[in-house]
């Protein structure tokens, strides 16, 4: 059966977007589920009806090191920036875009300003989550990896996502510079890097869920 390449390419971008969204949604669900399961297990092991969440989180968390935590934070911010660059830079996907602010788009530091605005917003959300009460430490993104056992290789891989996300941003920026012209390969490659990076960033959650299942 002959494959219609343009049709396949056209359906690749929505499929990738869907995959990215599902990856993140399932990661969030699994993360909460992982912690709930361990919380229950701890109560059983301690022969108690219930263990307080504060004690549970204190016992559960394993600090992963300053540099890794900083790089992981940078990776998450870069992930947000890469998503914004891919979906909000040009109006080919959404009806509104950075190109609508033509003065900014044409200015010398327009791309940097746009990226930093998105990064600032992501940083503000992360800091806001970090201020949540102790009972909701599971929602603190900066402490995400402290609930999981992460190998050095995994740490390196997570840190390397910053580079992959930089390449994704670069490809999206290229799409922006050629707008209103269009480059589908660049779009798909950028999305693929985004999906892979997101997958790596949430890999410890999936790994934990997988091991628990076994």
């Amino acid at each position: 059966m002959a494959i219609d390449i343009p049709t396949a390419m056209n359906s690749l971008f929505p499929a990738g977007t869907l995959l990215l969204a599902l990856l993140m949604i399932f990661a969030a669900i699994l993360h909460i589920n992982n912690l709930k399961r361990v919380h229950k297990l701890m109560a059983v092991l301690q022969h108690k009806k219930e263990v307080s969440k504060a004690i549970f989180y204190k016992e559960m968390t394993v600090p992963q090191g300053s540099n890794f935590t900083a790089l992981a934070l940078a990776a998450w911010i870069m992930l947000t920036v890469a998503v914004a660059y891919l979906y909000l830079l040009v109006p080919t996907i959404l009806p509104f875009s950075y190109m609508d602010i033509a003065e900014l788009a044409s200015s010398t530091l327009g791309f940097a300003i746009f990226g930093l605005l998105v990064a600032g917003l992501a940083g503000a959300i992360i800091l806001f989550l970090d201020k949540l009460p102790e009972d909701h430490r599971d929602l603190r993104l900066m402490e995400l990896y402290s609930f999981y056992s992460i190998t050095k290789t995994m740490k390196k891989t997570i840190s390397m996502t910053v580079i992959a996300l930089c390449i994704s941003v670069l490809l999206s920026a290229y799409i922006g510079t050629i707008y209103p012209a269009h480059s589908q390969p660049a779009e798909i490659l950028s999305l693929m890097l985004l999906v892979v990076s997101a997958g790596v960033l949430v890999m410890p959650i999936y790994k934990e869920a997988w091991e628990a299942r076994r």
Partner: protein, 518 residues
């Protein structure tokens, strides 16, 4: 003859008479319609008389009034009943009434002219009064009737207490219709069907009652002000020269305003009259063709004359005013308006060149100012550049090189360009306009390989990394691991730390210190 016989005969006659009357008046039964009302016999002798009802009779009379006026008049004469005359009948008193003290009025001043009638006769003796208003205008020796149909005062409309009634003559609201001013007399003529008399026939009256109203009607003179000629200063003969002024008239008359244009010797060259209501007056030179090319270099003066149909002001202002002063100038011939771009892509950020060719059709040389403007879509014209070029009989290329007329918001739109000049060209216009081309829709003026893009991305990445490290160092989310790990080689690291602290004074040092910790 016995008395009872006489009574019997009279009774028989009465019965016979009633029988006859019944035939004439008809009954409901005989007419065949129970509710058709009284009927009138139209039949002649014999037994077969035909009857019609009173509605038909009225319709017949109405028709007869139109179709046979002579017969109608004859019928009316037959039916005419003289008014009741009695020695006790008293002539009604009819007087003019005016509330104001000041009888000197301007032509357009609103008036309320009233006639008051007093009728002391009992109601059954009163007669309907017909009133006619009469006016004697200035310079006339006879009274003219104002109303062609009489104003009627019915017998039942007098006040029960005072036996008076009045008529306000709305048909004479003012004396605006007068073409001359002076003394105006107003009186009323009265008829009660038998007698005719005038309000002027009374004597010994005191205000506010008058035998006739006497008004001294005056006219308000129109007056002009705010004389002006635009544009001021030296102008070209075909500039939109406009003479402006205001004219006021308290009477609100229709005014004739004449503009007189004089040459340098005070000789009248032209005049134009405008029929206008009070307000702004304007004469546009180009509409009336006041000036021609041959007038270049001449200075003119002007004044106005005007009238309101009664009074005439022959010269206002008394000393003629200056204007316009027409300057000499070239007679431009302009053509070959075009543009060029640094590339065929027509990006908004590119440099564009525009040019136009001009020459003077007359032999002299003049400085002419050329202004280049551009616009996209329906936006306003945007002035790009202005330059003054000396134009003589030889064609001159006017170039606007290396201009940057567009902004990013113009991307994707068709542009238009225009060169405006300080003189008029061969078409009588002072500008030439052309449609350019569609500006490329590309917004970002640099490529991914450009240093600008490199600067953007590197700056962004660096600041994100720096920010992340800064936040982590502040919140110390991974510091416990670091501390536990540092227990083994704590002494070795503490020495290194000391040396780092020494170099951590500057901003760069602090940044490095922040990044090294781990």
């Amino acid at each position: 003859m016995p008395k009872w016989l006489i009574i019997a005969i009279l009774a028989l006659l009465l019965v016979a008479g009633l029988s006859q009357a019944g035939e004439v008046l008809g009954g409901g039964d005989s007419s065949g319609g129970g509710d058709s009302g009284p009927s009138v016999s139209t039949g002649g002798g014999g037994g077969g008389s035909r009857q019609i009802d009173i509605d038909r009779l009225i319709t017949t009379v109405k028709d007869g009034k139109k179709s046979k006026p002579a017969k109608f008049e004859e019928l009316r004469t037959l039916l005419w009943k003289d008014p009741i005359t009695s020695e006790e009948y008293e002539w009604p008193t009819v007087l003019m009434y005016y509330k104001g003290n000041n009888t000197t009025v301007s032509r357009n001043q609103p008036l309320e002219i009233i006639t008051i009638a007093t009728n002391n006769n009992p109601l059954e003796m009163r007669r309907m009064l017909d009133l006619y208003l009469e006016v004697k205008n200035p310079g006339s020796d006879k009274y003219e009737r104002i109303n062609s149909w009489p104003e009627k005062i019915q017998t039942n409309e007098y006040s029960e207490k005072t036996n008076t009634t009045l008529r306000i003559w709305g048909m004479l609201p003012s004396f605006a219709y007068l073409k001359n001013v002076g003394v105006v007399k107003v009186r009323a003529n009265v008829s009660d069907g038998v007698n005719k008399w005038s309000t002027a026939s009374y004597s010994g009256l005191k205000p506010p009652y008058y035998t006739e109203l006497v008004f001294n009607v005056t006219n308000s003179l129109p007056a002009m002000s705010d004389f002006n000629v635009t544009p001021s200063g030296l102008v070209r003969y075909n500039d939109p020269i406009e003479y402006k002024a205001n004219i006021a008239d308290a009477d609100g008359d229709l005014l004739n305003v004449t503009l007189h244009i004089l040459d340098e010797n005070g000789v009248e060259l032209k005049n134009e009259t405008l029929n206008t209501k009070p307000g702004a007056v304007s004469f546009k030179a180009n509409e009336y063709g006041f000036f021609k090319e041959a007038d270049a270099g001449k200075n003119f003066t002007y004044y106005y004359s005007y009238d309101d149909g009664i009074d005439f002001i022959s010269k206002d202002p008394v000393d003629a005013l200056n204007g316009p002063n027409i300057r000499k100038g070239p007679k431009l011939s302009v053509d070959k308006l075009g543009f060029s771009s640094t590339s065929e892509n027509y990006y908004w950020w590119e440099r564009y060149g525009f040019n136009v060719r001009a020459k003077n059709l007359n032999p002299e040389e003049y400085d002419v100012t050329f202004t280049l403007s551009t616009r996209t879509g329906n936006n306003e014209w945007n002035t790009v550049e202005t330059k003054t070029v000396r134009i003589g009989p030889d064609p001159v290329e006017v170039n606007f090189n290396d201009t940057k007329p567009f902004q990013v918001t113009d991307a994707g739109q068709t542009f238009y360009y225009r060169v405006k000049y300080s003189e008029y060209d061969q078409s009588g216009k002072n500008a030439m306009e052309q449609t350019g081309t569609r500006i490329n829709a590309k917004i970002v003026p640099y490529s991914i390989y450009s240093p600008v893009m490199f600067l953007n991305l590197v700056t962004m990445l660096f600041l994100i990394l720096l920010g992340s490290f800064f936040v982590e160092r502040k919140l110390k989310k991974g510091v416990e691991s670091h501390e536990s790990a540092s227990g083994k080689a704590g002494n070795k690291k503490s020495k290194k730390q000391e040396s780092r602290d020494k170099s951590g004074g500057s901003f760069a040092g602090k940044v490095l210190k922040m990044l090294r910790r781990g």
